[in-house]
């Protein structure tokens, strides 16, 4: 039987009424737990996995697929509506998504996220089904130096894409990089800048920082404004559905996001965040409305959301072909598979095709189910924004706090949340963009570790960084992205660029 027949067989099983019900339950549970801020997909899946143990393998897999995709999507909902990203991969979604929500365009933002997730999930799952073995070969070529070059590219493109003042953007980025140094150094196991505080040994939690910066900082900022009437939140302006122009502006970012997110997600050390960063930067460059970025550009939601979901399917490539879990969520999935005696690895597609294709079919069904569940709910979700502002922000503060405590029960973590919240407020007050600080915190340790690994392997020879063609190409693109704007600026086009830059906040 060929791959296609297996897939059809899997789909036939997964489309039985009982199975569809399990998928619906999974998606509902996943979304419900995933919308709690601070609870990312990993914890959602860990909490709900035991629920699936009671079912037969087919039912269990499909419910699990539903939980997985539901948890992923639930995180985006809170990012857009409440500016509280539940995990690092939906931080970028909050940037434009929440701006849209506050302008009464929460409906289209949620819709483009849902449909974009669906499109990306669909394409990426099919790519996974038919190309996984060849993709993983390419992904393995990526060693420390190639990853380092990729990080450099991400730094350059992302920092260029934030804010109109390069100086402020870079200040914020370097603040993030400095904070990223806190904690145990991965390569030597020695504590750095933790000042004997045990909670700092593991570094600063990205989600705590993101929730503090975005949600707490903003709540303080709103409360600190004298004239409360100025920035009235309009829950719904125009249709809750996507207009013709929303569609026109969304479909290309969905596709681009998918093709950025999937391969990076498939790389063992790629992660979901980098895809979303690169997608955001790309959309801002290519958009016909760059002035809207920072004020609720739909492309800035569509692209990163697609990238995020595509990378979730990408994560399954090394998991299924190598037995290599590259994210916490994937590690929990591995545990889930093991209960059926399914041992992911190089022989999996050959030894256990029914279950593998069953899983892939389940993912496709769950993906569609997510859309079925969430599109009608959008109207309900946006009602949340009609809640009077003091109540809404009080609610946001409550959920942000609960989420942080839930994910990491310690009073120190809570203190950090509030401390960074104040920092976020001060930065907003003086017009510093807040996204780069979070980007720095995420990318900093990755770039540092990969650079040091590359140099350790080469025993200190720096030329190793440009000796690989892939690394050299990536670094070349990064250099171009850095130099071209400088030349343009020198030729007197600086004003145009500054205008294009737009203001983030």
């Amino acid at each position: 039987m060929g791959a296609f027949d297996f897939l059809m067989q899997g789909l036939a099983t997964a489309a039985e009424p009982m199975m569809l019900l399990y998928a619906l339950i999974g998606v509902t549970l996943g979304t419900a737990v995933g919308v709690l801020p601070g609870i990312g997909p990993a914890l959602t899946v860990a909490l709900l996995l035991p629920v699936t143990y009671r079912l037969d393998p087919a039912g269990s897999l499909i419910m699990f697929a539903g939980i997985y995709y539901g948890g992923m999507y639930g995180g985006s909902t809170t990012s857009i509506l409440l500016n509280t990203p539940g995990e690092s991969a939906s931080i970028i979604t909050a940037l434009e998504g929440n701006k849209m929500a506050r302008k009464g365009r929460g409906g289209p933002a949620l819709a483009t996220a849902a449909i974009g997730s669906f499109v990306a999930g669909l394409i990426a799952t099919l790519l996974l089904a038919f190309l996984a073995p060849s993709i993983v070969k390419v992904a393995l070529v990526f060693g420390p130096r190639e990853y380092f070059a990729l990080m450099v590219l991400a730094f350059v493109t992302v920092s260029a894409a934030f804010g109109d003042s390069a100086l402020r953007g870079l200040t914020s980025l370097f603040l993030g990089l400095a904070l990223a140094c806190v904690g145990i150094d991965q390569l030597t196991g020695q504590a750095r800048m933790s000042f004997g505080v045990p909670e700092l040994l593991d570094g600063i939690e990205v989600t705590t920082m993101a929730v503090a910066m975005f949600a707490i900082g903003e709540a303080l900022f709103i409360a600190g404004q004298k004239n409360q009437q100025d920035d009235e939140v309009t829950a719904v302006k125009g249709s809750v559905w996507m207009s013709r122009s929303d569609w026109a502006r969304s479909w290309k970012p969905w596709l681009r996001g998918t093709f950025l997110g999937f391969p990076i997600g498939a790389m063992p050390a790629g992660g979901a965040e980098i895809g979303t960063f690169l997608s955001y930067a790309t959309e801002k460059k290519l958009s016909k409305h760059p002035e809207e970025f920072g004020h609720g550009a739909i492309e800035g939601v569509a692209g990163p959301e697609a990238a995020n979901n595509a990378s979730a399917a990408g994560t399954l490539v090394p998991l299924l072909t190598l037995g290599l879990p590259t994210s916490a969520t994937a590690a929990i999935m591995l545990a889930g598979f093991q209960q059926f005696g399914l041992q992911p690895g190089p022989l999996l597609f050959a030894t256990n095709p029914t279950l593998v294709w069953g899983l892939i079919a389940s993912l496709l069904i769950a993906n569609a189910m997510l859309l079925v569940l969430n599109l009608p709910l959008i109207g309900l979700w946006v009602k949340l924004l009609t809640v009077p502002k003091p109540w809404l922000y009080a609610g946001i503060l409550l959920f942000a706090t609960l989420g942080t405590i839930g994910a990491n029960p310690s009073s120190f973590e809570l203190g950090m949340l509030l401390g960074f919240g104040v920092l976020g407020y001060v930065m907003r007050l003086f017009g510093y963009p807040i996204a780069p600080i979070v980007v720095g915190l995420i990318l900093g340790p990755m770039a540092e570790q990969q650079l040091r690994r590359a140099l350790a392997i080469s025993q200190g020879d720096w030329t190793v960084l440009v000796q690989s063609p892939i690394a050299a190409t990536l670094l070349g693109i990064a250099a171009l992205a850095l130099i071209v704007p400088l030349i343009l600026r020198a030729r007197g086009k600086g004003q145009v660029l500054a205008q294009l830059g737009g203001d983030e906040d």
């Binding site: 030597t188 020695q190 593991d202 190598l322 916490a328 990491n408 025993q459």
Partner: protein, 313 residues
């Protein structure tokens, strides 16, 4: 009124049986070995009716020392609180200079264990463990080892191997990854000379022929693994990455006996054995004075190795 009746009924039904409602701290993120151990315990304890309700709480960070510190300070004398830990914690306590150690909790039993495997990519010119040791002796820096976190079991194993081969352990070129999985990618991609992690991490790849197994760290050969032990290869190294469960500090002997009995009942159940088999963990159950002695021994020897590698001053 209705709620009140309901609440008192609930309270009554909870108070009546002498069954403990355990809370298990997994001092790591969801997905890792400790988290999976805690969640497997949760499943088995509940399904076997040993405990009515079991909660798992993740307190991640710093090789488990953050969870350990929190556990020791918040649960003094609480017979219902458990924490999962393991050999990695022994090393982390020393490297992080943790103020709280395993002496500050009540170790109950060792549950599972895995032995280390030393591998090279299939394309590597190194054919056996003797070949690897030869390269190591010729130029320790030129042999890069990919493995899990710095100061963890894998790193300690490399230090022990170097020492046993008469190579200065401070000269080893150990490339730490956040886990065996990420290290595996580096080994498969031919980025490093050799790899070291639990045998289970490499098993599928060895069977598929993409990795070559050179040696294992067990006292005797492992069934199904076609490689000599380190001892056979003339290196006096034996290392097991074990996982354990501990109870809160300040328990009475009676309370400790009760927890130990519950854990023993769990380990002896068919359900537990099946879960272990599914996950590929071996049962290395050890409790009481034997476990205390083994723990003591591991802590001392680990301290020496970490000093030799230069991770602990």
């Amino acid at each position: 009124m209705k709620q009140f009746v309901l609440a008192s009924l609930l309270a009554g039904s909870v108070a009546m049986p002498a069954m403990a409602d355990y809370t298990i701290i997994a001092p790591a993120n969801p997905g890792g070995g400790w988290d999976q151990t805690a969640r497997t315990m949760q499943t088995v304890l509940q399904e076997e009716g040993i405990s009515k309700s079991v909660q798992v709480q993740n307190v991640p960070g710093a090789g488990g020392t953050i969870g350990l510190a929190q556990f020791a300070s918040q649960n003094k004398g609480n017979p219902d609180a458990l924490i999962v830990g393991g050999y990695v914690m022994v090393g982390a306590i020393l490297t992080n200079n943790s103020p709280v150690s395993l002496k500050d909790v009540t170790p109950i039993a060792r549950l599972t264990g895995e032995y280390e495997a030393i591998v090279v990519p299939a394309a590597s010119p190194i054919k056996d463990i003797a070949g690897l040791i030869e390269s190591l002796k010729a130029d320790p820096g030129a042999v890069s080892w990919a493995g899990g976190s710095a100061g963890g079991t894998d790193h300690i194993a490399v230090g022990l191997i170097a020492k046993a081969a008469g190579v200065d352990p401070t000269k080893i070129n150990y490339i730490a990854y956040s886990g065996g999985g990420e290290a595996l990618a580096a080994i498969l991609g031919n980025q490093v000379t050799a790899g070291i992690s639990s045998l289970g991490e490499f098993d599928a790849q060895i069977k598929a022929g993409t990795l070559r197994l050179l040696a294992v760290s067990s006292p005797e050969r492992i069934a199904g693994a076609d490689a000599p032990t380190l001892k056979e290869a003339g290196l006096d190294v034996e290392l097991q990455n074990w996982r354990m469960v501990a109870a809160a500090p300040g328990l009475s002997d009676e309370q400790k006996a009760k927890v130990t009995a519950d854990v023993e009942k769990m380990v002896k159940s068919e359900n537990w054995q099946k879960q272990l088999a599914d996950k590929g963990w071996s049962d290395t159950y050890l409790s009481g004075a034997d476990f205390d002695a083994q723990l003591e021994k591991d802590v001392t020897s680990t301290g020496t190795v970490l000093k030799d590698i230069g991770l602990v001053k």
